[in-house]
Symmetry: C2
Subunit: 338 residues, 2 copies
């Protein structure tokens, strides 16, 4: 029964999330029951959707309960097993939360997944070959459904979803345009991720300026848009959409703190006959095998080179998470525990 | 060559449309060329979409040209024919515009359609068994795609689209809730059109009040929404949508005069994983035969009793049209010429 440090949600944010919303707790891992395994976490995933779950208000997921381990994806190694399908040393992906160890009932379908780290580093199963990658895949393939030659745009392009989206869209013959914050991220998006262009939103802080930048970067208009952010960028993109364009709506990070985030001109949805669809990738488990296969191949063959921001140690998680919400990360934000 | 009175668009509106934007012109119908027919219009259709075409700005249709016949749907009778498929006396639906006669090249596919008035009055081919009816059909069947027991909501419920929508949705076992302006229209929507409930928006002039009224009228939430209006009603409906709800976006009449019409909380699209789709029925001609068949049967069997507001004479068209934009009509707005 190793000691097990955890981070709990101590209080719900009023407005912006704060370090004081979290607290560090030390407990012990309970003895295993039949069917269970003990996983030592190597990496924890920090994701924007977690901010929404800190609120009590209606959201797509149940709120994160107070005074319990903060929930989230993890990768690690089986260190003890009472389940014949899992052996000590197996590398696994799960939803272990912000703690050093988790006890998992591995008889539950989907609770744990063994992964092969021969060609794909373990941490990437939280990013490009994990939930963020499948998110990009679903939005691109199932909602945007691009034809060769279509122009597609994504916000937060240097992040875990954005980088996977770029590789998937290039593989389908699209023109891919990213939106990211700052020249370093934009350079990475074009030079290393292979996007055709990247717009620095800091240089275009209102809808009119962003719309002009999009016109230049997307001379044939925009056929598909993957929305991670919301706000004025959404307005600007809608003004540049071609007839019958598709919008995959996956995040509205700009509105997580409760600020109003209106859409200025929804009549564009009618004028351009757009389809806008909100989705959560965990509700589409049927696509995961196909998506993970393509994403794993892209990483293993070097066509997708995801970047990671790695914070060290459990205690660093809250600050790294708050930084992520402000775009301070560069690529997939992880916490390394081992 | 009979004399032919016409109404032209004389100028584009600045803000609200005015009578002075129209002018009456008298001309003559030219002699027929081979393949053409001369149609005497019995009724002209007045439709909200026409307001959008009065503007020069980007819209889904080409703008109505200045100093030309105002375009629109018509039904009438062939009075002269140089096309062997059409005989004098045939009843036809076309797009003859605001004039007493039109010369139609009947060799063009879709330019003219012969109709049977045995069980369906001629005027209904401009409403329930015409473009508005098919509009309702497409939004309900192809976008909302309701299951039996679903709750669906439509604005402008007493109008041509709304009345057809109600009958089509009841035929599919839905709970149908209308939104209309004033007690007379609401009574007609429930008592004569068979809606399960109707909300008078004049009693609920803001999103909060409308949302409360919707909660009462839709105790199981809203699965499908047909949007004709935009504005605060759209906001209120979105707040009551169930997960995986569908929105057919067909009109934003509240914004035709150029006033800003923002959507207050687009993050609801994500939170409730909604699908919103804008459409124009003329781009989906492939569904017309199936839709018209169902709509014709509903009318012929008395299950759909569409109401009409009929203005008398060509000169009355502009004023009747401006009234339509303000909701002064009650049911399908027509102009009777014969």
């Amino acid at each position: 029964m190793p000691a097990n440090k955890q981070i709990h949600l101590a209080s719900r944010p009023e407005g912006e999330a704060q370090l004081s919303n979290f607290k560090l707790v030390t407990g012990e891992t309970p003895p295993l029951a039949d069917g269970q395994v003990l996983v030592r976490h190597h990496y924890m995933s920090l994701d924007p959707y977690m901010r929404g779950r800190m609120n009590e208000s209606k959201s797509y997921a149940q709120p994160q309960p107070l005074d319990q381990v903060f929930q989230g994806g993890t990768v690690g190694e089986v260190v003890e097993s009472k389940n014949e399908k899992y052996a000590v040393g197996d590398k696994v992906v799960g939803f272990g939360g912000w703690q050093e160890y988790s006890v998992v009932d591995a008889t539950q379908p989907g609770a744990l997944r063994k992964v092969d780290t021969t060609h794909v580093p373990l941490s990437h199963y939280l990013g490009a070959v994990g939930m963020p990658g499948v998110t990009a895949w679903y939005g691109l393939v199932k909602i945007i459904a691009p034809k060769e030659g279509d122009t597609v745009v994504i916000t937060a392009a240097s992040g875990a979803v954005g980088s996977a989206f770029g590789a998937l869209a290039k593989a389908r013959g699209c023109r891919v345009v990213g939106i990211a914050g700052g020249p370093d991220k934009c350079k990475y998006v074009t030079d290393e991720l292979g996007f055709d262009a990247c717009i620095d939103y800091r240089q275009h802080p209102d809808a009119k300026s962003m719309s002009a930048a999009l016109k230049e970067a997307c001379p044939k208009g925009i056929d598909g848009y993957f929305e991670n952010v919301g706000g004025y960028i959404f307005d600007a993109v809608l003004s540049r959409m071609n007839a019958f364009g598709r919008v995959a709506l996956c995040g509205m990070i700009a509105g997580y703190d409760g600020q109003p985030l209106p859409l200025a001109n929804p009549s564009l949805i009618l004028i351009s006959r757009l389809k806008i669809e909100g989705f959560i990738v965990s509700e589409h488990m049927e696509v995961w095998p196909e998506a993970l296969k393509e994403l794993g191949t892209l990483v293993a063959t070097g066509k997708l080179k995801p970047r990671e921001s790695i914070a060290q140690g459990l205690e660093a998680a809250p600050e790294a998470f708050l930084g992520l919400l402000k775009g301070k990360n560069f690529g997939k934000q992880l916490v390394k525990l081992v």
